[in-house]
């Protein structure tokens, strides 16, 4: 079907880059959390970690890292857990608004979204 890096990779690569760990222990990292590098990549780093640091010189959403690295979002979350642990990156979390939290969208956010759409 699609000739992208994900399909070319053997599943073993997922195992390699994540050390065989799953992503379910990092549920707090939202798919659009913005990741910012706090340090420079170093030669001894795992190559995926170094790639994350390079990509995150400016704020970069978790899903964008996934697309750029050619890895499923779950695998990226695992990589990020390591980097967050060591303080190599920080995460800016999205505006809180979840399905079950009731009245969630502050009027100012909706107004600004509306204005942005009207400018398109």
């Amino acid at each position: 079907m699609r000739a992208d890096p994900l399909h070319k990779e053997k599943p073993d690569r997922l195992y390699m880059v994540t050390g065989g760990r799953g992503g379910a222990d990092e549920p707090s990292l939202d798919s659009v959390a913005l990741i910012v590098a706090e340090s420079e990549p170093s030669p001894e780093m795992q190559s995926e970690h170094a790639a994350v640091l390079r990509l995150c010189a400016r704020p970069t959403a978790v899903v964008e890292l996934s697309a750029e690295l050619g890895l499923p979002v779950s695998a990226v979350r695992v990589l990020l857990a390591d980097l967050l642990d060591t303080g190599a990156v920080t995460a800016r979390h999205p505006a809180p608004s979840t399905v079950r939290e009731g009245p969630q969208h502050d009027p100012d956010t909706l107004k600004q979204v509306l204005l942005a759409l009207q400018r398109l």
Partner: protein, 214 residues
């Protein structure tokens, strides 16, 4: 079918090729991200809609199903167990100096619904994109969005003459307060109007919720 042609004409392979030259990083000042999900069946025009309004060329990636709560061996399981993989596209619109809106195009079929739990919680709302030749493709999405209490609008991507919106509303068993409109997902203004309708709907349902806290 014409509807499939919409998605097959996209230069998709180029999107999957990452390269620093293609990147359009966010401004340093951006500190929060919002999301809206465009959900629908295969070939209905989700990616077309994302592409028509995104300020970046849409990106494409995948997610694999993980089992919530196991915590240990989800990805280890990739080596031995069958997993479900779902591809999705996304684009983005800068809202202001500190906020950015991500637009996801997501498959609506039942087997891909795990994306909602893993990626789309916290979305502002959703657009259900409908092809009137295959309205039934949207039943599951409408059902789940109602179940989750996720605000949504329904947009009929017109591929030609088709049933009236009243008939679509009946076929989807939509309640009267769910906005239903026609669009042409290829056109930026039309896709934009769908999102504007959704944001108005969010603003009005927010007021309703505030009056009746649960």
């Amino acid at each position: 079918m014409l509807s499939n042609a919409f998605e097959r004409t996209r230069p998709r392979q180029t999107w999957a090729a990452p390269g620093p030259t293609d990147r359009h990083p966010l401004a340093e000042t951006v500190d929060s991200a919002l999301k809206i999900v465009i959900v629908g069946g295969f070939g209905v025009g989700k990616t077309t809609m994302v592409g028509s309004i995104s300020e970046i060329r849409p990106l494409s990636t995948e997610e694999v199903m993980t089992q919530a709560g196991t915590g240990v061996d989800d990805l280890r399981g990739v080596r031995h167990k069958r997993t479900t993989t779902a591809a999705f596209d996304f684009g983005r619109i800068t809202v202001d100096a500190t906020r950015v809106l991500y637009l996801f195009g997501a498959p609506g079929q039942k087997r891909f619904w795990f994306l909602w739990e893993q990626l789309f919680t916290g979305s502002l709302g959703a657009v259900v994109l409908v092809d009137t030749a295959r309205v039934e493709d949207s039943w599951y999405a409408v059902d789940r969005l109602e179940h989750h209490g996720m605000p949504f609008v329904v947009a009929v991507n017109r591929f030609g003459p088709g049933p009236s919106l009243d008939r679509v509303r009946t076929a989807l068993d939509l309640s009267d307060d769910v906005p239903l409109l026609e669009c042409d997902a290829r056109r930026r203004e039309s896709s934009r109007d769908v999102l504007i309708t959704l944001v108005h709907h969010l603003a009005s349902s927010g007021r309703t919720t505030a009056k009746d806290p649960t």
